[in-house]
């Protein structure tokens, strides 16, 4: 706000949005602006601690995939996959290659479902100036129908492999309770081919959206696998040279509790904030994408790295192309495993797992006794890891746009938060937005 008079005057302005729309869950933003300086930015997570880590103690290892899946209705597969990999790591279980492929296929289903929902229902309205997806649909019915149908293909694949589309019930340590037949998977081919075309069209469509200029120097952190776009396995790498085994995660990353949030804030030890999720994955693993996904990236207007958080919508579209393309490859090559699950022999020990949830790496660690009872557990969801980066982006947004009226500034901040598709249910509930301006005008 430009000074208009020469008098000294302190003025406090408060912006408040009771429930921020188009995020999953509930949380809040608090910002304080004094004398044109942004003095405080807090991305608050209100949700009462849900005590999942404590709830797991004393439970059988076999219950972990189903208990942790309940943390989130949008990314239950991520929780199941990180849980089973961590426990298999502790017990030394070897997985049949066909089971490994089915796990990637299940993950593709979750990515298609989650990314389509975020692109069309939550994020796209921001760029086109619509308050919500319904208004977007009024002017762009074909695009929204495409998005809904694309999401449904993800749901259908999830139901086929997982038994139902949310909180699937077919995942177990060692594999699956039941493996699908070849013909069951073949029945998905036509709809996945349609979805692949729709995802390519999505990348082209979102590439044409107007993006605010931004290029931030993040430390990107993601899983990396030399032979495939990493989903379930690999090493944890960063854009600043980190390259560690999953077991070393806690040597390099830690969490701290801040008074304003019920979610722990993650940080890279000796450094600071780091970014996980589509931008990080894409920028670190571009070479592992399929040719069609790379082509979709070109048509969406992004290079082999992307550090504009607003273009995360394009990266999600590219990853949706990859997920459809890869799902078709898996189905084409599929031969059912001899057994749907490996034999699991319990032993005492500690195991870690890290997989790529739609919003970024999800780390699990379990300590188990000889009988396979969970002694303690640690779960680090991607939204907790991104909290510091989100706060940094919000600060930059406020500093760059201080002269905007409150209403527009609020909308910009909301958009910054939605760039991360924060799965606040994994870490929050109710997102309210509160900006306090303490302006001494006329100085």
């Amino acid at each position: 706000m430009e000074p208009k008079t020469a008098t000294k005057r302190t003025r406090t302005r408060t912006l408040k949005v009771d429930v921020l729309a188009r995020v999953e869950g509930e949380g809040a933003l608090y910002a304080r602006i004094k004398d044109r300086d942004v003095t405080d930015v807090q991305f608050r997570i209100f949700e009462p601690p849900r005590m999942f880590e404590a709830l797991l103690r004393g439970r059988a290892y076999s219950e972990a995939p189903d208990i942790t899946a309940r943390i989130c209705g949008i990314c239950p597969v991520a929780y199941q996959m990180s849980a089973v990999h961590a426990i298999e790591n502790a017990f030394g279980v070897e997985i049949d290659p066909a089971v490994r492929s089915l796990r990637r296929l299940l993950y593709c289903a979750e990515w298609i479902e989650s990314h389509a929902l975020h692109i069309y229902m939550l994020h796209a309205p921001d760029f086109l100036g619509y308050p919500d997806a319904i208004e977007l649909a009024r002017d762009n019915p074909d695009a929204v129908k495409r998005g809904l149908r694309l999401k449904k293909v993800g749901n259908d694949l999830m139901r086929l492999l997982g038994g139902r589309e949310i909180h699937p019930i077919n995942v177990r340590v060692g594999g699956f309770y039941r493996a699908p037949t070849k013909s069951e998977l073949a029945a998905m081919v036509d709809s996945l081919k349609w979805a692949r075309d729709a995802a390519v069209e999505t990348a082209r469509w979102v590439g044409g959206l107007p993006f605010p200029a931004a290029a931030y120097d993040y430390e990107f952190v993601a899983l990396h696998h030399p032979d495939e776009y990493a989903l379930n396995e690999g090493r944890i790498v960063s854009s600043r040279g980190l390259n560690i085994a999953i077991e070393e995660y806690e040597d390099h990353f830690a969490e701290e509790h801040l008074a304003h949030s019920n979610a722990l804030h993650s940080y890279h030890k000796g450094r600071d904030a780091y970014s996980v999720g589509p931008l990080a994955r894409y920028s670190l693993n571009y070479e592992q994408l399929t040719p069609l996904a790379k082509e979709a990236a070109r048509s969406g207007g992004i290079d082999s790295t992307c550090n504009n958080p607003f273009q995360s919508i394009v990266v999600r579209a590219v990853e949706t192309v990859y997920a459809c393309d890869h799902a078709l490859q898996i189905i084409e090559a599929y031969e059912p495993p001899a057994q749907p699950a490996a034999v699991v022999r319990t032993r005492s020990g500690t195991g870690c797992g890290c997989t790529e949830a739609p919003r970024g790496i999800l780390y699990h660690r379990y300590r188990l006794d000889e009988a396979g009872t969970i002694l303690d557990a640690k779960l680090v969801p991607p939204t907790a890891q991104n909290q510091k980066v989100i706060e940094g982006d919000l600060r930059r947004c406020l500093e760059t746009n201080l002269d905007l009226p409150d209403e527009q500034l609020t909308m910009q901040c909301e958009q910054v938060i939605r760039n991360y598709d924060p799965c606040i249910s994994c870490a929050t509930h109710f997102l309210t937005l509160h900006i306090e301006r303490d302006e001494r005008r006329g100085l």
């Binding site: 999953e24 509930e26 229902m121 997806a133 009024r138 019915p141 929204v144 129908k145």
Partner: protein, 192 residues
Amino acid sequence: MVEDFAKAEPVLSKTVLIIGIGNEYRGDDAAGIRVVRLIRARALPLPVVELSDEGTALMDLWRCSNAQVVFVIDAMLSGAAPGCVRRFEAHAKPLPTHFGANSSHLFGVASAVEMARVLGCLPPQMIVYGIEAKSFDYAADLSPEVEAATRMVAERIYMECQMFAEAADQSAVPAVTVLRSLFLNGGQEPDA
């Protein structure tokens, strides 16, 4: 009446869909789930679905079923007395905004209905029953007021299906039209 109903079941099973919405672990939020379980307990082959997912899944349900009449039952918070029941013909006009406004999910019932209206995929009849909640406490039972309301709503929907069955039997008149005129003229609106 029951005999007529039984005769029309093959028709009903294809043309009616009853969807109960809620989280059974959050007190009165389970009202919609309870209603469809009461209907299911009558052992009639009416298609009933329990849903705890977000609204796009709700749209998928009726789009894929091709149902002519869709009933949706959900808890609401409108400021009325707990257990108060309201019936809305959502195919005719938008639901009040308090439907789903308290959902922590992305897309509530009202949003799903409006999105379907915009995209031209609302069923010909979309009847929404709202039951005023008293409490959404974790792991709580239904409050007595809401419990009584769920029985009343289950009975109402059963009656509506019976009327639909009778209407479907009169082949000269399209069933949906007859059903609508029954509601318009028959004083069956429970929301005073």
